[in-house]
């Protein structure tokens, strides 16, 4: 009996020695990951693959009932869809959703809320999505299009189907962003099994959804990607912008893996789709 105990103790101390010298993971009670077995890459969850959100966040981050259209005008009895979108009928209608904002409401300053309402009233001319502009963060992650994560031992990149948007996530902080951009500058690190991305350096032109939710260039987004099983990532994003909101606020929702055989990003460059919209009035002879 005693010999077994002694041998076990020696083996354990050997393991501890190895762990200390070679930084191998030493399974200790409380650190072993619970839940389904995740695919791993270099010891961390392997987030490679095609992912997509399945909710109405891109229509409206907050809880909302269905409505006839995003652009409305006064009607004789109730508001009716604006002339420009009337022909879409039900295709242009907004589906209802329970919202993805934790706590329900986005905490705007009074000026921020005013601007949001103006944005809604002028959705057709102001929503950058309409002109196929880069969607910004976090909107890119809940567009009704998939995105692909490329994770290797030395890099982490996200390619989005919508507008071919792209985010390189630096694994080594390159310092403050040299220039503001639509998709910002992203720096990523692992906290246990959660991949955390800090993004800033945004220009103020992107929106958070089709309902006029907006931000300034002071925007900072902290994302957390936690794989809960091989086909689901729990996505959280904390949004801070002292110019527009009274405090940081958070959205969260699952990301679903695209499971079909041969799943891939299809192409949606979309710049060529909006030329008539943006430059049609400058044709030699406008289209009749």
């Amino acid at each position: 009996m005693r010999n077994t105990l002694r041998n076990a103790l020696l083996a354990l101390s050997g393991a501890i020695f190895m762990a200390v010298v070679f930084h191998t993971a030493l399974p200790v009670a409380g650190q072993a990951p619970a839940g389904p077995r995740l695919p791993r890459l270099g010891g961390k969850p392997d987030l490679n693959g095609i992912w997509q959100a399945m909710n109405t966040a891109n229509w409206d981050l907050e809880a909302h009932a269905a409505r006839p259209a995003l652009a409305m005008r006064p009607g004789p009895i109730v508001p009716v869809p604006a002339k420009e979108v009337l022909a879409f009928g039900a295709v242009g209608a907004v589906p209802g959703g329970m919202g993805v904002v934790e706590g329900g409401e986005i905490p705007y300053t009074p000026e921020g809320l005013k601007k949001k309402k103006e944005n809604q009233d002028n959705w057709l001319t102001r929503d950058p999505e309409i002109k196929c502009y880069l969607p910004g963060v976090p909107r890119a992650n809940y567009m009704p299009f998939p995105f692909q994560i490329f994770q290797s031992d030395k890099a982490f990149a996200i390619a989005y189907e919508f507008a071919g948007a792209y985010r390189n996530v630096y694994l080594k902080d390159p310092g403050p962003p040299q220039v503001d951009s639509w998709m910002g500058q992203s720096v990523g690190r692992w906290e246990g099994d959660t991949f955390v991305i800090d993004a800033n350096g945004f220009i103020d032109q992107s929106w958070f959804d089709r309902s006029g939710n907006h931000h300034s260039e002071a925007l900072k987004v902290t994302e957390r990607y936690t794989m809960v099983d091989p086909n689901h990532i729990n996505y959280e994003a904390t949004i801070e912008d002292k110019n527009v909101f009274t405090r940081p606020w958070k959205i969260s929702f699952p990301l679903y893996r695209r499971m079909e055989k041969g799943a891939r990003l299809n192409q949606f460059k979309c710049v060529e789709f909006v030329e008539e919209l943006m430059y049609g009035h400058l044709r030699k002879t406008p289209v009749q």
Partner: protein, 392 residues
């Protein structure tokens, strides 16, 4: 010694099982058939048996789903000759004479209307005319169908299917569904509700009734059924298609209302909450729980245009479904809206099993009525304008 204990335990087990199986029968409320016209209902013999004293009632076990809950599944109809509110001269229970008068008259009228038309009859006079009926006091249903285009020939009797029997609960024929307040009538409106109604009327007065699609009834717009088939509360419409399908799972009860293929999804389980106030779907949001063998469903968050009898956004409906026999579900509902009704009120009716299939009610897809109503009025306006322009 060992065998003796086994034997005694076994006997006790058997005895317990026998007693338990008798239990549900003792608890089931007794009431008779409430037959709709097309369904295979309880046969007259069974109905008689159920009308008789409880002691001789047949042995019936509550059917249960896999997780032990009462099984409400199947296809049901709530068609009946009984109105929501009590008519003058009636009590909670109808006399035999009153019952016979209603049911016999209904049969008479149906037979009368089913008689072949005279092929040599002249066209109706301009502006329409009241169609003949057998002599006698018309039922409230006749009055309803008369208003549905009777003068110019709206629904021919072939299309109508309101039911052939009055509601019977515990074997007693009911004059009305409302049981509380005790006078069988919906309580009065609050002053606030009256104001809202006046404002609504004033707004409507600013328009002609055919000016805009939004001024037409919800049924004509194919948004909801006539009356309140889907509700809640789920009440018959006295016209047709009062059919429902119920499917039950571990954590949902789904009720599909034939008119207008409206699906109510009742979420079951602990800790459920109604959605935030801005979310107000048609048919509201329903949360259910089991109270013994009764399904209790609470619904709030009604769509702003679904104003049941003038109710506001504060409307709350509580329904109770109790399987009462092989062919019947007892249905009771309470309407609460302190900003509309001076008191909550409760009504009872029943769903009867039907062997009929439920068909697709593709209302909007074939809604010629609404566009014809509006364009007819637009034509009339144009003609009237022309007439003014050139006086004859």
């Amino acid at each position: 010694m060992k065998y003796r204990s086994v034997l005694s335990i076994g006997t006790l087990a058997v005895a317990t099982a026998v007693v338990c199986s008798l239990g549900p029968v003792a608890a089931a409320p007794r009431f008779g058939g409430n037959e709709s016209s097309g369904g295979g209902q309880a046969t007259p013999a069974a109905a008689t048996a159920q009308k008789a004293a409880p002691a001789t009632a047949k042995l019936w076990t509550m059917p249960r789903t896999a997780d032990g809950k009462p099984d409400l599944q199947g296809t049901w109809s709530n068609a009946t000759l009984t109105p929501l509110e009590r008519l003058p001269g009636q009590g909670l229970i109808l006399t035999d004479a009153q019952t016979a008068q209603i049911e016999n008259r209904t049969k008479e009228v149906a037979a009368f209307r089913d008689a072949p038309s005279d092929p040599n009859r002249p066209p109706p006079v301009k502006g329409g005319e009241d169609r003949p009926l057998p002599p006698g006091e018309p039922t409230f249903i006749e009055r309803i169908s008369a208003s549905a285009g009777g003068k110019v020939g709206g629904y021919n009797n072939f299309w109508l299917d309101p039911g052939e029997r009055v509601l019977r609960i515990d074997g007693k024929p009911r004059g009305a569904m409302v049981i509380d307040p005790p006078d069988g009538r919906v309580p009065a409106l609050t002053p606030e509700a009256r104001t809202r109604a006046m404002q609504r009327a004033a707004r409507t007065k600013a328009f002609g009734e055919f000016d805009h699609p939004e001024l037409r009834g919800l049924a004509e717009r194919c948004l909801l059924s006539f009356g309140s088939n889907a509700g809640p509360p789920m009440v018959p419409n006295y016209f047709y298609n009062n059919n429902y399908q119920i499917v039950q799972t571990k954590d949902h009860v789904m009720i599909m209302t034939e008119m207008v293929h409206d699906v109510r999804i009742i979420r079951m389980g602990a800790g459920l909450e109604h959605p935030p106030k801005p979310v107000r779907p048609w048919l509201g949001d329903s949360i259910g729980r089991w109270d013994g063998d009764t399904l209790v469903v609470e619904t709030t968050n009604f769509h702003p245009q679904q104003q049941y009898r003038g109710a506001s956004e504060n409307l709350k409906i509580t329904e109770r479904f109790t399987r009462a026999g092989p062919d019947q579900i007892l249905y009771r509902f309470t309407v609460e809206d302190p900003t509309t009704f001076v008191a909550p009120w409760t009504a009872e009716s029943a769903f009867n099993r039907t062997e009929e299939m439920i068909y697709e009610y593709a209302c909007h897809e074939g809604n010629y009525a609404l566009s014809n109503v509006l364009s007819g009025e637009r034509s009339k306006e144009k003609r009237d304008a022309e007439k003014i322009k050139k006086p004859q």
